[in-house]
């Protein structure tokens, strides 16, 4: 992509992204309100005084007695002014709750994503290079095992092995409780806590990328330009890196870009298993408590993330593949 086209591209894509986010916000709102049970009945049930008058009073207080389109309009107006509302259950602004939890989730998913991509592409490339030999079979078996095993089970097994039996790694939380630490000690501590959940979250995607990389590398290896490189006398190692792998990465990037969003969704389960203080767990708790504003806030935040990731993928793709016209 030529650098001069970048601002226009970003502007056009920005407008489109905003429209997409708005549509998602509306869908989320309608979905959440289509679910049975409302916050008033949950609060009333928990306070033990569930008579009709109290319910009515609660509903009026939260604006739940208004028609749905009015509620939607009010919600949209506040979202547009970046006000995500107030959680009555947690007695805190939603934006604050989400932002507090966001870094932990980004750290977890980012680490898992980087691990899955790096290890997956490496394994896939190794398998493609040794296609049909034992190393290829071993990598295929490993990848398929991770592909077929449920996330939570992998998590539990990792905890069992590394925390309970070997006592190498902590099994829950993001940092050690009640220990005074400084500088690098904190980093080391968080890294230790991060390892198991990031592995758990990343293993499935590692399998996907390994399979995909292997398949596309074998496909690219048959193409004419690889033969051209060979006819030029380029050494095999360089053919693999500069010609085959680079071209084979294009579909992997496309796929990874789509999955970066799914990774955020997958983190709900892992955050619950490992008691990781991220937005996944926040969403889970909010769902149980029918805390609509928090739930909607989390949804909004994740959808913005997904749209951002897609935009980033497209830009990356346009930089790597010169044939891609950066049309808005």
């Amino acid at each position: 992509m030529e650098a001069s086209k970048l601002p226009g591209f970003l502007l056009r894509r920005g407008v489109k992204a905003a429209i997409v986010v708005l549509a998602i916000v509306i869908c989320n709102f309608l979905l959440v309100h289509a679910a049975p049970g409302d916050p008033a009945s949950v609060i009333a049930g928990q306070s033990g005084a569930a008579d009709a008058v109290f319910l009515e009073q609660l509903r009026r207080q939260f604006g739940l007695d208004q028609p749905l389109y009015v509620q939607l309009w009010i919600y949209l107006k506040s979202v547009l002014s970046l006000d995500l509302g107030f959680s009555h259950r947690q007695q805190a602004p939603v934006a604050q709750l989400v932002l507090e939890r966001l870094p932990a989730t980004l750290l977890l998913t980012g680490a898992a994503f980087a691990f899955a991509l790096a290890a997956g592409v490496t394994l896939g490339a190794l398998a493609a290079q040794r296609v049909g030999r034992w190393a290829d079979s071993v990598i295929t078996v490993i990848a398929l095992t991770f592909y077929a095993t449920p996330l939570f089970w992998v998590g539990l097994m990792l905890v069992l092995v590394f925390s309970v039996w070997l006592e190498w790694l902590p099994s829950f939380g993001m940092s050690s409780v009640g220990v005074e630490m400084h500088g690098l000690e904190v980093v080391w501590d968080v890294a230790q806590h991060l390892l198991l959940p990031a592995l758990t979250l990343g293993l499935f995607y590692l399998a996907v990328y390994a399979r995909l990389t292997r398949a596309t590398m074998l496909e690219v290896a048959d193409q004419d330009f690889v033969k051209t490189a060979r006819a030029k006398g380029v050494p095999e190692g360089r053919i693999l890196r500069a010609h085959v792998l680079r071209n084979a990465l294009l579909p992997v990037i496309t796929f990874a870009g789509i999955q970066a969003g799914q990774l955020l969704g997958g983190s709900i389960l892992v955050e619950t298993v490992f008691a990781w203080p991220g937005i996944g767990r926040l969403a889970f708790e909010a769902l149980l408590a029918r805390d609509y504003p928090v739930l909607l806030g989390v949804f909004f935040c994740t959808s913005v993330m997904v749209v951002l990731f897609n935009l980033l993928t497209d830009m990356l793709y346009a930089i790597i593949d010169p044939r891609v016209e950066v049309a808005g």
Binding site: K227, G233, R238, P322, G328
Partner: protein
């Protein structure tokens, strides 16, 4: 001592093939400063021989016997690393398909520089790359070097490939059908370029081709291959004009001879008249930039009963688009398409239906244009059955048609993959004829076929036309084919017809500069195939 001497080379095919060896007991030599053309039809083993010299045979095709000596060294016993060092430095190769032979993600200049770098002269790259690009007559070498391959045309890419092959001044250049995928005018430029560079540097060239026209244009010596063996070799003039082996004679007899004989003018009533037909492709819009391509404009033609009109032009000239407009595979924006005086363009789908069976089409690619999951009988009978013919009757007719296109009626229950390219094209013709059309549109029906098969299919078309009184619109990029089969030709360039008239007149006295250029580019136009 010859530059390259191949002796008794035998390469095995994987078990289960139609023959045990891809090439068998093949011997030839190339001297410095000469061009040896290896000619043969597809599957004759000519590419395998070339790849064996480069040490680029796939694993499934092992060398069983023979020797390949290059500059006195035996290549077959060379270690892989030593062979790699020779490739690109002393031995270079260019390929058939310029569109896929360059790495799409790498700048052209970097790809050329890579040859220099992997052979230890990367320091010169900045100076040598523009020099090399200039040497293959590419304009603005600096800008080309910075481009990615997708920005360049097929001819430009093939020039880049040649520049890359010549980077280290190899002693031997192997060219595997380097002009087959190119337009005829580009082909001529590339052939001249190879000739010129070869004579300037005294390189040896091993040139693989299937086209005797190209052989006549470029070869010093010729080797003819058939089913893995060399059946005849000798000096070009000798083989071209006095072929000894029956296979060579058959191949040369099948070459469409460029001369167009005068034909009686046809004065019957017009069947099809195209007036002011326009088709413009637009891309982009909403947010992106617009791109507009005028695929067809100023292309009026009229076709009389029983006449064959050839539509000739290079790729992208709009000839296929125009033909597709007639059968409404493409919908033009403007103009009239009059069939016996009725304008077909504004008709609805239902209104079109009666005309569907009277206008039929034969496509270029015999591999892609038949449904692989249907038997040949069903494929041929499908059209008539859709139009209300009872199935039994349609199948009976299909059997007759197979006989008409000289296929065994036993082919009815078989599937397309069981047939060769030429046989499939016959099936495609039978399918078109099943509708008993009055007008047949043939879109490059012989371009994907070997020359001997091409001659058979052309003869078949001529015979059917005479027998059934068909009117035919025949699209081709090959002027030799057009000369042989068409009563009149229309020359298309960039969406417009620049010249049309009786074939013999257009060939003898072309009026438009582009027509002259096309005719001058027919490979081997100085060679008249001998009467055999």
């Amino acid at each position: 001592m010859s530059l390259l001497r191949v002796d008794g080379l035998t390469v095995a095919l994987p078990p289960g093939g139609d023959r045990p060896h891809a090439v068998e007991d093949v011997s030839f030599h190339v001297d410095a400063g000469e061009i040896l053309c290896v000619v043969g039809e597809s599957g004759s083993g000519k590419s395998i021989s070339a790849n064996a010299v480069m040490g680029l045979l796939p694993k499934g095709l092992p060398v069983r016997q023979g020797s390949i000596a290059f500059e006195g060294r035996e290549l077959l016993s060379l270690a892989p690393e030593a062979m790699r060092k020779l490739r690109g430095e002393r031995l270079a190769m260019i390929f058939q398909e310029p569109m896929t032979a360059l790495n799409p993600l790498m700048r052209v200049g970097d790809q050329i520089a890579e040859v220099l770098r992997v052979h230890g002269s990367g320091a010169d790259a900045a100076r040598r790359v523009p020099e090399l690009l200039a040497a293959v007559n590419l304009p603005d070498p600096a800008a080309i070097a910075r481009s990615h391959p997708f920005r360049l045309s097929g001819g430009q890419r093939q020039r880049v490939m040649i520049a890359m092959a010549l980077a280290l001044e190899p002693a031997l250049l192997i060219a595997d059908e380097p002009t087959t995928a190119l337009d005829v005018t580009t082909q001529m430029q590339i052939l001249r370029l190879i000739r010129e560079i070869q004579s300037r540097r005294g390189m040896g060239v091993l040139f693989i081709t299937h086209d005797f026209g190209v052989v006549a244009e470029i070869a010093d010596r010729v080797a003819v291959m058939q089913r893995g063996r060399i059946v005849e070799q000798g000096p070009a003039a000798e083989v071209l004009n006095r072929p000894q082996h029956s296979y060579t004679q058959a191949l040369i007899a099948a070459v469409p001879h460029g001369a167009a004989q005068a034909r009686a003018a046809i004065t019957t009533a017009p069947v099809l008249e195209l007036r002011g037909v326009e088709k413009t492709y637009r891309r982009g819009g909403f947010f992106g930039a617009r791109a507009v391509v005028r695929a067809v404009h100023d292309a009026d033609i009229s076709l009389r009963q029983g006449e064959t009109l050839g539509l000739v032009g290079e790729s992208g000239s709009g000839k296929s688009t125009l033909a597709r407009c007639v059968v409404r595979l493409v919908e033009p924006e403007r103009g009239t398409i009059a069939y016996h005086g009725t304008d077909l363009r504004p008709l609805s789908r239902a209104g079109w239906k009666p005309y569907r069976r009277r206008i039929q089409m034969v496509f270029q690619d015999p591999y892609a244009s038949l449904n692989p999951r249907r038997t040949v009988g069903d494929t041929i009978a499908e059209g008539p059955v859709t139009h209300g013919t009872p199935r039994a009757q349609a199948l009976e007719r299909a059997r007759e048609l197979l006989r008409l296109v000289q296929l065994d009626p036993g082919a009815m229950d078989r599937y397309p993959h069981e047939f060769s390219g030429g046989q499939r094209q016959r099936i495609g013709i039978a399918r078109a004829l099943a509708m008993e059309p009055e007008l047949l549109i043939a879109d490059e029906p012989v371009s994907a076929l070997d020359v001997s098969v091409q001659a058979q299919v052309l003869a078949l078309l001529a015979e059917i036309r005479a027998r059934l009184g068909l009117t035919m619109l025949f699209i081709t990029h090959d002027l030799r084919v057009a000369a042989q089969i068409c009563d009149r030709v229309a020359v298309m360039q960039r969406g417009a017809i620049v010249e049309q008239g009786p074939t013999s007149e257009v060939f003898a006295a072309p009026r438009h500069a582009y027509t002259r250029q096309l005719l001058d580019s027919i490979p081997g136009r100085g060679w008249t195939p001998p009467e055999l």
